[in-house]
């Protein structure tokens, strides 16, 4: 812990400060969107989007390194593919709800497959590990601005349309009867989820992204009496998990992504057990 605090103030180790700042800023969209993912029960959709991202990352790296398209990198590829997956999944929910699980499974696996094929054809050695398992310590100053931009987008959109999103998560059919364009709002929700996941992949990677998106919100759900409270609690928990994970991984020389997830999962398990045994049973 002391080593981590010393590294934070060391001018030669800016990446530690970048990681901490990113962790705190990223917790805002993670907490807000994670809450919607939990209450709307769309964690499998979030999982499919996150795994699709490897396809975009692979395509971006291939275009950049094999085709010399310098303006299109892995981040651009990830954003395009994540948004595309969000559109496909919202269309499936609209027109072929009964096939939704099959499409989720197909996108999940196909995205990974396409990504790995692109990586195989990209010249030079490309290590997929940092995309699969993330590395917050590789974050640069420009990434921080990107996170800040996402914070503004998510907080702004949800702040303005909070009641509408609440209604479509609680009772979509009724919201539609009140004249809300539920399909458009669902699409916006999935697109915000997609953008949040792209960002989250930098912190914990494609494989573990669902955990950091859902665990803080799921824990918060045990104590919150409103969605707003749940969001605030999830943001706080997410910040704590990222900072605790960074500090522990730095001190013990372990990869940060898995440590963050293990801490979040341990707290989730403890809270779940605590709620089971301590909460009075209903008759």
């Amino acid at each position: 812990m002391i080593e981590f605090l010393a590294a934070l103030t060391d001018p030669d180790l800016p990446f530690v400060r970048y990681a901490v700042i990113t962790g705190i800023l990223a917790s805002i969209p993670f907490g807000i969107i994670g809450t919607y993912v939990v209450v709307r029960r769309i964690s499998y959709i979030a999982g499919a989007i996150s795994h699709c991202i490897l396809g975009g990352v692979g395509a971006g790296l291939y275009l950049q390194n094999a085709q010399g398209v310098s303006w299109f990198g892995p981040l651009h590829g990830a954003i395009v593919v994540a948004l595309l997956a969000a559109v496909v999944l919202s269309l499936v929910s609209l027109f072929a709800k009964q096939r939704e699980d099959s499409v989720i499974g197909a996108l999940w696996a196909a995205g990974m497959g396409i990504g790995l094929l692109f990586l195989a054809k990209t010249p030079g050695y490309v290590d997929p590990m940092s995309y699969l398992f993330g590395n917050i310590l590789l974050i640069t100053q420009s990434d921080i601005y990107l996170v800040l931009l996402l914070d503004i987008l998510v907080v702004g959109t949800i702040g303005i349309f909070y009641n509408t999103f609440l209604a479509i998560c609680f009772d979509e059919e009724y919201a539609g009867l009140r004249g809300v364009h539920t399909h458009w709002f669902y699409l916006v929700l999935l697109c915000l989820t997609a953008l949040t996941i792209v960002l989250l992949v930098r912190v914990v990677g494609i494989v573990m992204v669902i955990a950091l998106l859902t665990l803080p919100a799921a824990i918060a759900g045990n104590f919150a009496r409103s969605v707003r409270q749940m969001m605030v609690l999830a943001i706080l928990l997410c910040t704590i998990f990222i900072l605790a994970g960074l500090s522990t991984s730095y001190s013990l020389d372990l990869p940060s992504g898995p440590v963050i997830i293990v801490i979040a999962a341990a707290v989730y398990l403890l809270v779940a057990l605590g709620m089971k045994f301590l909460r009075p049973r209903s008759i």
């Binding site: 209450v39 029960r41 609440l166 209604a167 609680f170 009772d171 809300v180 009496r225 409103s226 749940m230």
Partner: protein, 259 residues
């Protein structure tokens, strides 16, 4: 002033003409004609799969008729859907969803502006209707902490908050106790003084005490005054054997279905 009062009572609040509807290869409703006038109260009954829910969804505009038309005060449901207060079954809600009673009820005010933000007037209206259904002290409570009967009242309050003239309820008596059921029908009786009420239910006997007409839906729709309801008629519309059960509780002495 509500919409019903501005209209001639001879103009139907709900008008269904030559309506047919089916899903893919299965016909659900055939040549349905039904007129529900302002301040009428109609109870929709019929066997499972007979088309009750489909008929209700066609009326509220969630489904579009293949043949025929549904009109709400002379216009298609898509246009006049805000005149309908809809009460779904509370069983469809996620019990872990963190939301207060006040927030649920205020959803009835959605659609007033582009962003969905509520005004002071919206919250005032919410508190007013909560008082009307006897839930004002529970406004800040979690929706999931309410009893079945209270939740049903909260959903009715949400429908009232929208200020519609027609109240449509989908099996509001499912999963609630007899006392709550009795209070619910008393409330519906009061609301019928100013609203048209349409209710889907399986509880034929109880409902017949409070509703003026009964619509039997089994692919086709046949409507009777509730005074004409007999065991034979119930048997005919459900297509099965029935026994009339006498209840000792205060509000019902009519029949229930037994397979």
């Amino acid at each position: 002033m509500n919409h019903s009062e501005t209209h001639n009572r001879s103009e139907p609040a709900i008008s269904i003409t030559d309506l047919s509807f089916g899903y893919e290869d299965r016909q659900i409703l055939t040549e349905v004609n039904l007129a529900v006038y302002p301040f009428d109260s109609v109870c929709i009954v019929g066997p499972n799969g007979g088309g009750k829910t489909t008929l209700m969804k066609l009326i509220i505009g969630l489904l579009t008729p293949e043949i025929g038309e549904v009109l709400i005060f002379g216009k298609r449901p898509e246009i006049n859907k805000k005149l309908i207060g809809y009460v779904p079954q509370y069983a469809v809600y996620d019990r872990q969803f963190p939301i207060s009673v006040k927030e649920v009820v205020c959803m009835g005010r959605l659609g007033g502006n582009m962003t969905g933000r509520y005004s002071t007037e919206d919250w005032d209206r919410t508190m007013h209707v909560l008082g009307e259904v006897g839930l004002a002290p529970f406004a800040e409570r979690s929706f999931s902490s309410l009893s079945g009967g209270q939740r049903q009242r909260a959903l009715i309050a949400r429908a009232l908050a929208s200020g519609g003239d027609i109240l449509i309820l989908d099996e509001p008596t499912a999963n609630i106790d007899q006392e709550s059921e009795s209070h619910l029908f008393e409330l519906l009786g009061e609301l019928n003084q100013r609203m048209t009420i349409l209710m889907v239910t399986h509880d034929v006997g109880f409902a017949s005490k409070f509703f003026k007409r009964i619509a039997c839906v089994n692919r086709r729709v046949v409507i009777h005054p509730t005074s004409e309801l007999t065991g034979e008629l119930i048997k005919e519309m459900y297509g099965g054997d029935f026994r009339m059960i006498r209840h000792d509780h205060t509000c019902s002495s009519e029949g229930h279905r037994h397979d």
